[in-house]
């Protein structure tokens, strides 16, 4: 039994970071597409799932960029993030735009919108302000009910 646990831990250690690899970083080969490997099999996937659950893997926001680089010259927001979990994470987000005084601009476009990030994948959110006076933003998220 003890040796089985040691074997599982070793498999897991070997398996971390050894997912199916693509020759181009921009192309993400999902597990199960390129066949099983030492690092990618039913045992290691199950153990990794438990570790992910324990470590609270999920959505991570990497960057938020605001500019006016669209054809209309309206403020727009790009949020880049990634899902550290191996499972698809579904959530809702709402972007509220703020004026120069930091007050929320009341707009019908600020509503809860759905987002889905596949496991171990990056995602991007784009939002366009419907008022030119928007200078800043705040974004809220919540679970997909």
């Amino acid at each position: 039994m003890k040796s089985l646990i040691i074997l599982c831990v070793m498999l897991m250690l070997f398996g971390v970071g050894c997912g199916p690899k693509s020759s181009d970083e921009r192309v993400h080969l999902r597990s199960g597409l390129s066949g099983g490997s030492l690092g990618h099999n039913v045992v290691t996937e199950s153990i990794k799932g438990v570790f992910e659950w324990l470590s609270g893997a999920g959505i991570v926001i990497d960057e938020a960029v605001m500019n006016r680089d669209n054809a209309a010259g309206l403020p727009q927001l790009f949020i880049a993030g990634h899902n550290t979990s191996s499972k698809t994470k579904r959530f809702r987000y709402r972007v509220e735009w703020l004026d120069a005084d930091g007050l929320v601009i009341d707009t019908r476009a600020s509503t809860w919108l759905p987002m889905s990030a596949m496991g171990k994948s990056p995602f991007q959110i784009k939002s366009v302000a419907t008022r030119p006076q928007a200078v800043n933003f705040r974004m809220d998220t919540r679970k997909w009910e």
Binding site: N70, A71, A72, G73, L74, Q76, T107, R108, A109, S110, T111, W112, L113, P114, S127, V128, T130, R131, P132, R142, E145
Partner: protein
């Protein structure tokens, strides 16, 4: 005496507790965490309108080169779903946001948003009862430069023996009223899966 009073209160609470359904409550429309329904609800219209408006404004199709505002009319929005939908549920939100963007002025003279009084007031030109200086003159209405038209339609699919899939498509198009050229269009899809017992109309 006290025990008698307690008995009456307990009896009253049992009797009233068993009567009627749950108490009506107001929906928190800002942060509604209620379950989805198979039919279209206000959250679906909010989502579709938000996506449409952001896409239309962000495309630059409404940005006038001289900095002025386009005159826009709402054309026909077809409801091709099995539900009784007032398409203003979508268009009122879209029009409101377009006008508040400062890039557009909507017209009530033509299109589906026509204000009949604008035309009725012009019939007063012959009336001696009205001061003719206050009656709208000929050739004062402004014609629309752009028109928005669209469609909402629904597809019902059998998902498995117990569940159905309902797809709602929101489509809007923005066209130049003079040339007929289309400058922008978008489709927003809302899909729902649920029990066959749920009615989607």
């Amino acid at each position: 005496m006290n025990s008698r009073l307690l008995q009456i209160i307990a009896l009253a609470s049992i009797v009233t507790g068993g009567c009627g359904g749950s108490k009506p409550t107001n929906i928190d429309i800002v942060n509604d965490e209620g379950k989805s329904v198979m039919a279209l609800d206000y959250r679906d219209f909010d989502k579709a309108a938000s996506e449409m408006v952001q896409s239309m404004l962000g495309s630059g199709a409404l940005k006038k080169k001289d900095g002025g505002r386009y005159v826009v009319a709402t054309g026909r929005i077809v409801n091709d779903t099995m539900q009784r939908i007032d398409t203003d549920q979508l268009m009122a939100k879209v029009e409101e946001e377009l006008m508040n963007s400062g890039q557009v002025v909507m017209t009530s003279a033509v299109g589906s948003g026509t204000d009949q009084l604008i035309h009725e007031s012009r019939e007063l030109r012959e009336s001696e009862e009205f001061d003719q200086n206050t009656v709208a003159k000929r050739g004062t209405l402004i014609a629309p430069e752009l028109s928005i038209s669209g469609k909402i339609f629904q597809r019902n699919l059998r998902y498995d023996s117990k569940n159905q899939q309902v797809e709602y498509y929101f489509q809007l198009k923005l066209s130049d009223a003079t040339s007929g050229l289309r400058y922008w269009q978008k489709e927003s899809l809302i899909g729902k899966r649920g029990s066959n017992k749920s009615v989607a109309w």
